[in-house]
Assembly symmetry: C2
Homo-oligomer: 362 residues x 2
DNA sequence: TGTTAGCACTCGGGAACAGTGAGTGCTAAA
DNA sequence: TTTAGCACTCACTGTTCCCGAGTGCTAACA
């Protein structure tokens, strides 16, 4: 059931007005803001119908109307102007990205910083790896005289290391043997037989047994996929919004933020859309009831993608935020794409790595 | 100039009263709270003298008095009862530490969580390494067909790795040679001659040159000491305090928190004292003017120490907080000590690693 | 039939105001 | 030196009142 044009225009105006002022909007003020002359009475009629349809709410009888969550949803889906970011803003973002990427050695952190500063909202950012990376190889490196080793795991796209502190030294030659056995087990995909066999040959009390067990744990952990790290930038900016002037509310949300895994789950839910918008109740969490999350994802490499978004009151400038997020994704994909392409090209021409490449890989 | 006994008792009572109620304390209420009968008029006289001496302040003429920062300082230095933590609380802490240490793989995070939950304040925690760790060895590991290597650096106490993405493949044998050269240069302490010599033999455009340069950067970076990671737990708890009901103030402090390096600097300033207390203006930052920081440090290994503390309004229960921090340090040093001792003992008896050991090294 | 003008009604919020009570400083007596 | 007494201050609270923005309804109008 399509909303008639005039209702759409009115609803859009109400949402935008409310986004800007955070105050219930009344019929009179709204009538004035239209260029086509239309009386406040007419608007009142339309409003009361929109209210019946569930798009508007009255805080109390003699106040104006406030958009419902359904209204925000409709606004985002159909009403909102998908405006482009001004070129000077784009330029600013590009600059910001460049400087941030240089100064901070992590794309996730940079992403949240850039988006946070651009939108002046709380930004969240994380990296999501598709599937657990299979461990391809393992190296053992003696750190000191032999009672500390570092286990280094090589996966398809990453290298991880972990210190193994042993209760007694293990000879380098023994470690080397263990390493060979491990790599054999890895390549033959027979990891589960390794521990029993070590137990048999060396005994369950041996340092080697302990070591093997630790390494296997480490491998399992790595393949299970590390819990993704979630970064949050500018949580304090939340307090700038009228809806969080009440410390109780603010506390709830900040508390929610501090449980990164919840935020991470939310972000993981990104579907194929370029921009995902979750409004208020759609976030499924009471403490976030009057907030919205807008986020997008970008490819970092074939099985890694970054997700970045902002969390702000449901009354937020969706048009602005989505535009900025889009611009960001484009910019970053540009950088990434160029980098990947370079790598390929370079395979033939052996040309020098460029500045961009260096920035992000650092 | 020593404060007479009665003034001390009155000041102490005022501070403690204010800590509990967050409300200006008046002469009458205070007189009642003393067991030795003493009239409110007398207290008024004493109070007005204490005010002259700079220990008390009046929010306005007909309110009670509020302790000044100087009063807090005096309270912490001389007046406060250094009470011990109740044994059941100690037990709770021990349990908490055990579970946290198991579930979170990082001592810094655990420390802040435990202290944060114990005190119900915002906890900060970091690790500070004495001096840049010298790199002792370097390994190169091929990740894929040769265009990606991982550089693994071994320092006295740690192992770090970093991916080197190359524009063109480098043969494993070449990498091995580079590795040997690197280790030679490291052991002979002649790193600065390496790059020029690679340039000469391989050319400045070569992948090996690029690789060497990246590795040298990485080494330099590692030896310079990574910027310490600072963890903050329960920032939202700040909002529970009356002094941060005002969102403006709260925002300032949260903003301050988000700049970890500032917090880190503060913590680094720990001197030899078991407990450090920085009250209000002593924090040297306008946004922290009415907050205090109480922190302590504990040894992790010979040149690594952990620092943990809490940030809360200047009106905080110093006695409680310091006691809890002390208890924490003791507990953690106990764990660490046992671990170290075990390592040594184990050298002779080759006994199994214990649970504690495993917990913290994970 | 849809739109508009007019009107009575609602109700949150701000201003004005008075009363309360916890607090103070001062003075004079114990 | 301490204390009782007293006058004074002033934040805070509750009440009342009024304003005005906003609504719904009705009747006139295009």
């Amino acid at each position: 059931m399509e909303l008639p044009e005039r209702k759409r225009r009115i609803l859009k105006a109400i949402v935008e007005n409310y986004i800007n002022t955070a105050e219930p909007v009344g019929s009179k003020a709204l009538a004035d803001s239209f260029d086509t002359p239309i009386s406040s009475a007419t608007i009142r009629n339309e409003m009361s119908e929109l209210e019946e349809m569930g798009y508007l709410e009255k805080p109390h009888v003699s106040a104006g109307r406030v958009p419902s969550f359904a209204a925000y949803r409709l606004y985002v889906n159909e009403l909102m102007d998908r405006h482009r970011v001004a070129t000077n803003e784009l330029e600013a973002m590009r600059l910001m990205m460049e400087s941030k990427m240089r100064e901070i050695d992590n794309i996730v952190v940079s992403a949240s910083k850039v988006i946070g500063e651009m939108t002046q909202h709380t930004a969240v950012s994380m990296i999501s790896r598709k599937g657990g990376d299979r461990v391809k190889r393992c190296e053992l490196i003696a750190v000191d005289s032999g009672s500390t080793y570092a286990a280094v795991l090589v996966t398809g796209s990453d290298v991880k290391n972990k210190m193994l502190r042993l209760a007694a030294p293990v000879a380098p030659s023994t470690a080397a043997m263990l390493c060979t056995a491990l790599n054999l087990a890895i390549s033959e995909n027979r990891l589960e037989y390794l521990l029993p066999s070590v137990a048999q040959s060396m005994g369950e009390d041996s340092q080697v047994y302990q070591m093997t067990s630790d390494i296997l744990d480490f491998i399992r952990q790595t393949e299970a996929g590390s819990k993704p790290e979630v970064y949050i930038d500018g949580a304090a900016r939340l307090l700038d919004n009228r809806e969080y002037q009440d410390t109780g509310r603010a506390r709830e949300v900040l508390e929610y933020f501090s449980d990164r895994s919840k935020v991470g789950e939310l972000l993981e839910s990104a579907d194929g859309d370029p921009i995902n918008v979750r409004i208020g109740p759609e976030l499924q969490d009471p403490s976030m009831r009057d907030a919205s999350l807008v986020f997008t994802s970008y490819q970092i490499d074939p099985n890694t993608r970054g997700i970045v978004g902002i969390i702000a009151p449901a009354r937020m400038d969706y048009a602005d935020v989505t535009a900025k997020l889009m611009a960001f994704t484009q910019a970053i994909s540009g950088v990434m794409g160029r980098q990947r392409k370079q790598l390929k090209d370079a395979g033939e021409t052996d040309e020098q790595r460029t500045e961009n490449d260096e920035d992000t890989s650092r």
